[in-house]
């Protein structure tokens, strides 16, 4: 499950490098995200800009990690594609997560870049 992490002042950005976050990948995604969330924070900024398909299994994986986070850590979202945004809206999870606009080129360079996981 390829994920890329970038350290930020407030925590870590986790970029999902898969274009599908579905039931076939949800368990592996959840395991990788859990590992990252355990050693980073307080903000885990999940960048979904490359994900053009997500179903309720992908959403469920994110929520499962959110539920187990300690109170001082939180998952926030960025880079929602139209299909991902639709799932969040239909399930009303857009009211639960802090959602940021896509990260543009004007953003400061991350302090470190680590490739996580095998493709």
């Amino acid at each position: 499950m390829p994920l890329m992490t970038e350290e930020m002042a407030c925590g870590v950005r986790v970029c999902v490098l898969e274009n599908r976050l579905d039931a076939a990948l949800a368990i592996r995604f959840k395991d990788r995200l859990r590992e990252i969330a355990a050693r980073n924070g307080p903000v885990i900024l999940l960048d979904l800009s490359r994900v053009d398909f997500m179903d309720s299994s992908g959403l469920g994986a994110i929520l499962a990690i959110r539920r187990t986070l300690p109170p001082d850590r939180r998952i926030e979202l960025t880079g929602l594609t139209p299909n991902v945004e639709r799932v969040l809206r239909l399930t009303r999870m857009d009211m639960v997560f802090v959602i940021h606009p896509p990260i543009g080129p004007e953003q400061p360079e991350p302090t470190a870049r680590v490739q996580e996981g095998a493709p």
Binding site: A23, F53, D55, R67, V87, L90, R92
Partner: protein, 204 residues
């Protein structure tokens, strides 16, 4: 229509006895004459997409990608995205709950080996879908939805029930019945699908 069938049709026409309406019935509405040859029109849309697949998440993913290849990119991209999402929810429910394997849907876990039959037909007002499976009966209440709506935070903590929420919101004419030990779920995904001029039947 296969090539041998097409050959039979031409042979039928060459006999000169086929009335035009009979010809249409034999080959399906939408056939047309082009010179001396009877050619099937490109249909009123696209050929039906049909698959029989095991109820596991990998086969479901592959089937959805095949469906995209069949209908896209000419079809309304938004309708295609909605049908893909709804079918993922419907079929993954079978893989996870129908098999008894739970959310991991791990084929290595003990569970029922189920078979899904999927049919999707594009028409000018959307995509008509039928999904059947040989699992246990669908629990009552899935189609109707909960009587009391959860707050978003409660729903987030429970982290379940989202699949049916999506299915109910994105479908029209959703209905379910049992037939021959199978669940049959039918619905329409609405959309104004643009038929290209050459795909319109041109026989009066």
């Amino acid at each position: 229509m296969s090539d041998p069938d097409r050959g039979k049709l031409r042979g039928f026409m060459a006999g000169g006895r086929a009335p035009h309406d009979l010809m249409r019935r034999a080959g399906g509405a939408g056939n047309r004459r082009d010179g001396d040859r009877a050619l099937p029109a490109k249909s009123r849309g696209w050929p039906m997409f049909h698959r029989v697949l095991p109820a596991d998440t990998g086969a479901i993913q592959a089937t959805l990608l095949d469906m995209r290849d069949r209908f896209g990119p000419e079809i309304d991209a938004d309708a295609l995205a909605r049908v893909e999402l709804v079918l993922a929810e419907v079929m993954n429910n079978v893989a996870q709950h129908g098999t008894g394997r739970g959310k991991t849907a791990d084929p290595a876990r003990p569970g029922r080996a189920l078979t899904i039959h999927l049919s999707v037909a594009a028409h000018d007002r959307g995509l008509a879908c039928a999904v059947t499976d040989d699992g246990p009966p669908l629990p009552a209440g899935c189609l109707a939805g909960p009587e009391v709506e959860r707050t978003p935070e409660h729903a987030a903590m429970a982290a379940c029930g989202f699949g049916w929420m999506i299915i109910r919101d994105l479908t029209q004419s959703l209905f379910h019945f049992r037939e021959d030990q199978r669940n049959v779920l039918c619905f329409n995904i609405p959309g104004q699908l643009q038929l290209t001029p050459e795909s319109r039947p041109d026989v009066a």
